[in-house]
């Protein structure tokens, strides 16, 4: 049984959208053999509380904004290499922009076994009638089941890449947007997401 924490700052509209994914993993953890140590949201998602959960959790899920060297609540760095050094957390899954660029590699160098995240911005189309966000959400939620059932993280990562790939080709088959509005915008952004999604460290890690 793993001790798992979830950080969902929800500091603005986009972060609240991403918090929905975090709420999803919380529900999955509660119905799994694993223990939810804490979900930190809003003002509780501060650096002191993050220090504490990094010391008490085996796995950390983050859903919010990121910089190349930090995970953020608003403009405040709440997780960076300063509090990852010495952390217990062996796995960090960051649904956030940019953090796999510097924070991910630094985390792995300092002892985190596996870091999953993006090394650039990632995006999704929100237009009514476009299924981009719903498809992305379905892929993310499905990945929680795999992570929590001891699937090797490399396989989880590969499943997510395959889901991105399938989405790109779904929208590629609708070039004129006759089935879904703004299909081409969805296609090029998911294609970008696919290319900037990273697994760093040990892909053989499993969460028991």
């Amino acid at each position: 049984m793993a001790n798992i924490s979830v950080v969902t700052p929800g500091c603005d509209s986009t972060a609240r959208t991403m918090k929905g994914w975090g709420d999803g993993v919380v529900l999955k953890i509660r119905s799994s053999p694993h223990k939810l140590v804490q979900q930190l949201s809003d003002n509780a998602a501060d650096r002191n509380n993050c220090n504490a959960i990094l010391k008490s959790s085996d796995v950390l899920f983050f859903f919010g904004h990121g910089a190349i060297d930090a995970l953020l609540n608003g403009n405040t760095q709440i997780i960076d290499i300063g509090n990852i050094v010495g952390a217990k957390a062996a796995v960090i899954v960051a649904w956030a922009c940019n953090s796999a660029s510097q924070l991910g590699p630094a985390s792995v160098q300092s002892g985190v076994s596996t870091y999953i995240g993006f090394d650039s911005e990632f995006g999704w189309v929100t237009r009514a009638g476009n299924s981009s966000y719903a498809r992305l959400t379905a892929a993310i939620i499905k990945s929680f089941d795999s992570i929590l059932s001891a699937t090797k993280l490399q396989s989880v990562y590969d499943e997510l890449l395959a889901a991105f790939h399938d989405m790109v080709h779904y929208f590629n088959n609708d070039p004129a947007g006759s089935i879904e509005p703004d299909a081409v915008l969805a296609k090029i952004w998911i294609n970008w997401n696919e290319s900037r999604f990273r697994l760093l460290g040990n892909g053989s890690t499993q969460i028991y």
Partner: protein, 85 residues
């Protein structure tokens, strides 16, 4: 992407935004917190803002996989066939 191709991207986004049924409603969210309307996307690409450069990179990457002409044609024709929001 050369200057001619960059101009083609700018023009295609302008046509897309001009003909979009909801040019001032958010159509794209980024994990960084940015939310952009079609008009804002087209303007950013044309003026070379930080997001505009990113959007150009996104198009350039997609062009490697799908061809730039096909993407720009799709943007233009997507605009022409968009239904109500």
């Amino acid at each position: 992407m050369d200057e001619k191709e960059r101009y083609g991207v700018i023009e295609a986004f302008q046509i897309w935004a001009k003909n979009h049924p909801t040019p001032d409603s958010v159509v794209l969210q980024l994990g960084s917190g940015k939310e952009l309307t079609p008009r804002e996307i087209a303007l950013a690409v044309a003026t070379g803002t930080e997001f505009g450069k990113l959007q150009l990179a996104v198009v350039e990457h997609a062009a490697d996989n799908f061809g730039l002409d096909d993407i720009l044609d799709a943007l233009r024709s997507n605009a022409a066939t968009l239904g109500p929001a």
